[in-house]
Subunit: 411 residues, 2 copies
């Protein structure tokens, strides 16, 4: 089974928007074991969209078209697909009613053009998930299939996860129900994980169900996707749960979460569960740690505060550490403890670096010290991180959060 | 002149990397007045790369191929282009020597495979700019042309800006030397800018040189690109400088920088020039402002510190503001002044929001208060910002920096 991705929108070609949808869909396809050999960007132009659709259908079994399903005149994905299917657009009355009701419920007048969103190519059906106003479409073209989904990421993601991927897997030959889960890991390389899981992978190669896939995702860690098949949904979920348990028994604390969880969301959740508060003192990470934490919904319940220290005098004054400046290892510990004191928090975090990380575009390796304080003691680890300054800042941040996670897990 | 972009790499298809290069190149092409109708992602596979190249050359005049020029066995862009050109790969001795010298100068042994980077399709020439180890290639195919550039962004950007775009413009029919500059603006909508510049645009339509292009870039502001032609470089630059001056006379303080400058780099530069220091107190922006500032090279010379306040008690204790909590407008002013006091800085910044910005995916409008303090007084502005929480955080941050910029400009 081969499935391509076409992202629609002149704004993508002009560089006004970076296309993150194709990467997201590409990852889902890879994790589901579906080959994807090309992604295409094309503008809001009927003839060129039709060309792009024909080229993809000529070389692949399916295509996910993303974007161009809105109500305005330049949203012409429906028209392009209908033309390629050789079918007219037909107004779906239940969709039209739904669009009307949405406006009524908001007390707003509906521009007539909005009913365009209820137009469906004859022979196409509608994706059951519809988190926004734009319906997703399932459009057969001979033996091939076009899925049309909105460009709004959360709408697209719900449709692709909820319908498109399972439908593709079914078309790929399996009549079984498929369920999958991604274990998020941090702290081991891809080859390290593969080594740890080698005996189980060999077993699974023999059994054939569930299957595992690995995906290295930089600062998001390495993802291990479990895909299970069953005669019905409960059976598939049972197989999934059992494999989840088995893998966690092997990987232990390397697993920090599942599916959409991030390192910071897990840390915040665990702190909330334990009724603990957090404070941060940042030097070279410069607010990055704090910005990541506060982007999470419940950060304000645990993060008592954070301070970014721009100069040595500020440190010695504000944190009452007269011996400053000090060696980076001692400095990390001192800062983490001082953050606790300053903000009266249960836990304090700080990171320091031996030399300022190099400027962008000069690869190098930096040594960082990561410290987690609680009460009157702190645990400090050193770590060597390759890359430019921004990469070192990013990886120091995520590693520091991971250190806190491991400490919370042990408590 | 039509030019497409092909981004090479299986990691793009798997979603391990988001392709930002195509958007960047797309923007450069748009600003240079070159049409670009398709972007393609293809993996490290010879047959599929050749197919992608043939399809693009069939419908466009030129293609920029990005990536796959490294020394490892999966870097096969050179081979794919040579195959499409019907030409053998020939080792370029001067390039080979350059590769060798680079290893010698670092005292490292060179793996023989690295010499692959000196292989060039017969008939191709080398892009003069070479900031890394991978040479860029100019490969004629009949009347059409393939440019191959590395996937590393800064290497790619230097080659595309320095050679590919001017070369495309020359091929587009102009024998003149072309020079261009982008004015970075903040504070006016695209239509607002167009209105301000309407008389000049009408004049330029008649004169034909230089030309202007607008590009809305979200949090990066709206870009106004000037492209000037001249019989020689000096003439082109003179026309460019004159137009730059003329536009600035109309746009005034809406222009915050040129080309690669960011709002934060400009603010830091101006603070340095004036020998002023900065401090930040953040609530709902949660470290974002601080993280943006400290990502800039000279931030440590001006940013004395920043504090993120997670709870009301922290504010009243640390900032010695017993009346806390207070109304958001007064709060912004109080925080900005307190940041100055706490870190003993010349300038203080703070932003507050009336209600917590809504959760992601629920569009709404938030009112924010942005305050810039200096000495014992502060200037506070309110602003209504649409969008989800993350967008409000981002736009509050950039608008606050802009407020400081305007204040510095007036001082």
């Amino acid at each position: 089974m081969r499935c391509e991705v076409i992202a629609i929108g002149t704004e993508l070609l002009l560089g006004q928007i970076v296309d993150t949808n194709s990467a997201w869909i590409g990852e889902q396809l890879a994790l589901a074991g579906i080959d994807s050999y090309y992604h295409t960007h094309v503008g809001d132009n009927l003839a060129r969209m039709m060309d792009a659709l024909r080229i993809t259908l000529g070389r692949s079994d399916a295509v996910i078209v993303c974007g161009g399903l809105g109500p305005t005149h330049d949203d012409i994905t429906r028209e392009a697909i209908a033309a390629v299917m050789g079918a007219p657009l037909v107004r779906d009355e239940s969709l039209a009613q739904r669009v009307r009701e949405r406006f009524v419920s908001r007390g707003r007048e509906m521009p007539l053009s909005n009913l365009r969103q209820a137009d469906v190519p004859e022979g196409a059906s509608i994706i059951p998930q519809m988190p926004g106003t734009a319906p997703g479409l399932i459009c057969p073209v001979g033996e091939k299939i076009i899925y049309a989904v909105p460009g709004v990421p959360y709408e697209m993601q719900e449709m692709v996860k909820g319908h498109v991927i399972p439908d593709l897997q079914k078309r790929a030959g399996s009549a079984a129900v498929i369920a999958s889960r991604t274990l998020r890991t941090w702290g081991q390389s891809e080859s390290g994980l593969a080594e740890l899981l080698a005996p189980r992978i060999t077993e699974l190669d023999r059994i054939g169900n569930p299957t595992l896939a690995f995906l290295a995702s930089g600062i998001e860690g390495i993802k291990v996707r479990i895909t299970a098949k069953g005669g019905d949904r409960n059976t598939a979920l049972r197989i999934l749960d059992e494999e989840d348990k088995r893998l966690r028994a092997i990987l232990g604390n390397l697993v920090f979460g599942v599916d959409g969880q991030t390192m910071e969301s897990v840390v915040i959740e665990w702190l909330r569960e334990r009724d603990l508060t957090l404070a941060v003192a940042e030097t070279f990470t410069g607010g990055l740690l704090s910005a990541r934490l506060t982007a999470e919904p419940y950060a304000d319940e645990v993060l008592r505060g954070s301070i970014v220290l721009g100069s040595d005098e500020t440190v010695s004054e504000l944190l009452s550490t007269p011996a400053w400046p000090m060696e980076p290892e001692a400095a990390a510990e001192t800062l983490a403890l001082a953050a606790c004191r300053l903000f009266r928090s249960d836990t304090g975090l700080a990171a320091t670096v031996v030399a300022r990380p190099p400027a962008p575009s000069t690869p190098a390796v930096s040594t960082v010290f990561l410290s987690v304080a609680g009460g009157n003691n702190a645990e400090t680890r050193s770590m060597r991180l390759p890359g430019d300054r921004e990469r070192v800042r990013q990886f120091a941040t995520i590693n520091l959060l991971n250190l806190l996670r491991l400490r919370l897990a042990a408590s």
